[in-house]
Assembly symmetry: C2
Homo-oligomer: 374 residues x 2
């Protein structure tokens, strides 16, 4: 079966919503943060560690898996779940974002048919189309596939964005036509940049095609925060209530709160694992950096209020030692913590929705989170 979204409750004072997603690999509550396993592995972590963080859906990357090891090898291994031995649901992106972000401008050519570009690994010529992206995702056998969209940088002209939105709609229709996996949901993607009317147009036209869920694309591409939050508001306004809403590539704690308040159900981002490898951790009092010498003899955990494996077992002094000596365990311990931090945040947001006090929750969270920055 395909995934099914159930709306359980709407918060009284905002657009925040509590729901569940039923999948072939279990039912999960939303709002939810989804850890990113670009190349069929959430960097440095085991599946058991992800489960201990209370992870639900995880993400994987069509572009990277297409290049290595190739979708046919994964299909021969029984699909992505069996390949990486993950017993939970998986969402795959379309590869569109990677094509637009990894290939330099000169090295890509966007045509109506698809995108010509060069491999970021060996420079070989590649051609990705809406049909090809869906075909790869069908073979990967993820639970949720994404339509192949154009993801323009910020800012572009109104005219460029209008044409891009129209092309993304045509690409969405082409992808939907070839989609052929009865156990895989297919999502449409709302684009339109910071232009309210284009977001409305993109949203309404995408919904007409009746996808299994909807993503808000084109945020976190260089815009400021108020613009981003407006993009989200404009992006969800005309979405149906009975389908999942996914804000792509967003993982800053405050952005997650603002997204949930605006009606977003699921988020993904490489941020928690990426900053971990650079020695940074989320805490209730803002981000901290373990390269800072002040942690040399600090016997407290990363975050006193955290319940993760790292915080239960290790001190800041030890983690600083691992980070400054380049030991792999350091990035691993901070990845566990950072992922758990964002997942716990969404657990608390669900509780706040139940209690109809999400605005109060936001105020308290932000006051504390930004205390160290003042």
């Amino acid at each position: 079966m395909k995934i099914k979204y159930n709306l359980l409750q709407k918060e009284n004072n905002t657009n925040a919503r509590l729901g569940t997603i039923e999948t072939n690999y279990g039912t999960y509550e939303t709002p939810m943060f989804m850890p990113v396993g670009t190349k069929a592995t959430v960097k440095s972590l085991s599946n058991e560690e992800l489960k201990e963080c209370n992870s639900g859906i995880i993400l994987s990357n069509t572009y990277h898996l297409w290049l290595r090891p190739g979708e046919d090898i994964i299909a021969k291994c029984g699909g992505l779940h069996k390949f990486m031995n993950w017993s939970g649901p998986i969402l795959t992106d379309s590869g569109g974002f990677q094509v637009f972000s990894l290939a330099k401008n000169k090295e890509k050519d966007i045509t109506e048919e698809g995108v010509h570009f060069k491999s970021h690994i060996d420079g070989s010529k590649l051609f990705l189309t809406p049909e090809k992206s869906i075909e790869i995702q069908n073979k990967l056998d993820s639970d949720i596939a994404m339509s192949f969209d154009e993801c323009p940088p910020f800012p572009v002209s109104y005219d460029y964005m209008k044409k891009s939105v129209e092309r993304t709609l045509r690409w969405a229709a082409r992808g939907k036509k070839v989609h052929n996996n009865p156990n895989q949901a297919l999502f449409g993607i709302v684009q339109g940049g910071e232009f309210t009317d284009l977001r409305e147009y993109s949203c309404k036209e995408t919904v007409k095609m009746d996808f299994d869920g909807y993503s808000i694309g084109g945020t976190s591409v260089g815009e400021d925060k108020p613009t981003m939050y407006k993009m989200v508001e404009d992006g969800v306004r005309y979405l149906p209530e009975d389908k999942v809403r996914y804000l792509m590539g967003v993982g800053d704690p405050i952005d997650i709160i603002e997204g949930v308040i605006r009606g977003i159900d699921i988020f993904d981002c490489v941020l928690p694992t990426r900053i971990a490898r650079h020695g940074q951790a989320f805490t209730r009092y803002g981000k901290i950096n373990f390269n800072n010498a002040k942690f040399k003899e600090d016997l407290t955990p990363v975050d006193e209020e955290c319940d993760c494996y790292t915080c239960k077992n290790y001190t800041k002094a030890y983690i600083r030692h691992l980070i400054t000596t380049g030991e792999m365990l350091g990035g691993r311990l901070l990845s566990i913590h950072n992922i758990r931090f964002l997942i716990k945040l969404t657990e608390e947001l669900r509780e706040a929705i139940k209690n109809n006090n999400i605005l109060e929750y936001r105020e308290k969270f932000i006051e504390k989170y930004e205390r160290n920055n003042k």
Copy 2:
């Protein structure tokens, strides 16, 4: 209390011996392989993973911890066990081997007082003496400390080795004099290179000082296998039966078998984790390299006969994907496997001693292990 060795049984046909080591952190059977956590972490692994591999004593490195984070910080954190949250026993080496191997010849000056050399991190001038090495190890609060010895390369002249052995004896006496930790055993180290009479002299004089255990040093420094095995035979010949015998830096499976047959109780080596990071794994049929394209679609585990986490959960195809894309989980999964492989080997060797059939075990193991190489 200090560790205590109990000899349980001698094998009928060889010098192999079964025993236990009682420590403040539990009692462990020997022969035993000890994983190496150079900088207070066995590279990429958690303590729980080490326990799952059935690890007993683990090793850590005086030289590296002296430089970073420094023994005083570790002491402030409550000693090495608390610092790294390891609930088992720890052996620290003296730093001697690192001083002799990491510093280039021109950059070190061996005097009677100690060794002047340059830091491998920032080139700063350092001076390590027998007293300093013991003082650091006392502060680290490991369960077993090593005497500071000179570890000459292979080959050196008889005259050089004779003088070196004599200096190592004087250094051992100086270290023993300042050793001051009632919960820490101190081992003496037998040197003497490939010279039988110098090994005898080193052994007898070291034993006269009455250490808590004895190490065989100066192997795996470039000599061929028959020479190495002779060094071991010459090194243990005059050691007392009621003390542990430790062959330093040896982790090749066949060398472990040959060492056990010659009366060695404990081994350590970075080999299992180092080759793992380069994509190599021990198997019953010899070492395999995951960069080899033949594993692309191989759905079997690393080693069909292995009971480790990696072999129970992942295929060769997935591990090859992780290794060839540079994903950290690859090195981690192979590190778990390789450590478990060596620990399981020592478990089987203990069983062979109990059954008095260790020569038969060796023959079968080697026949299979070298099959792929023929």
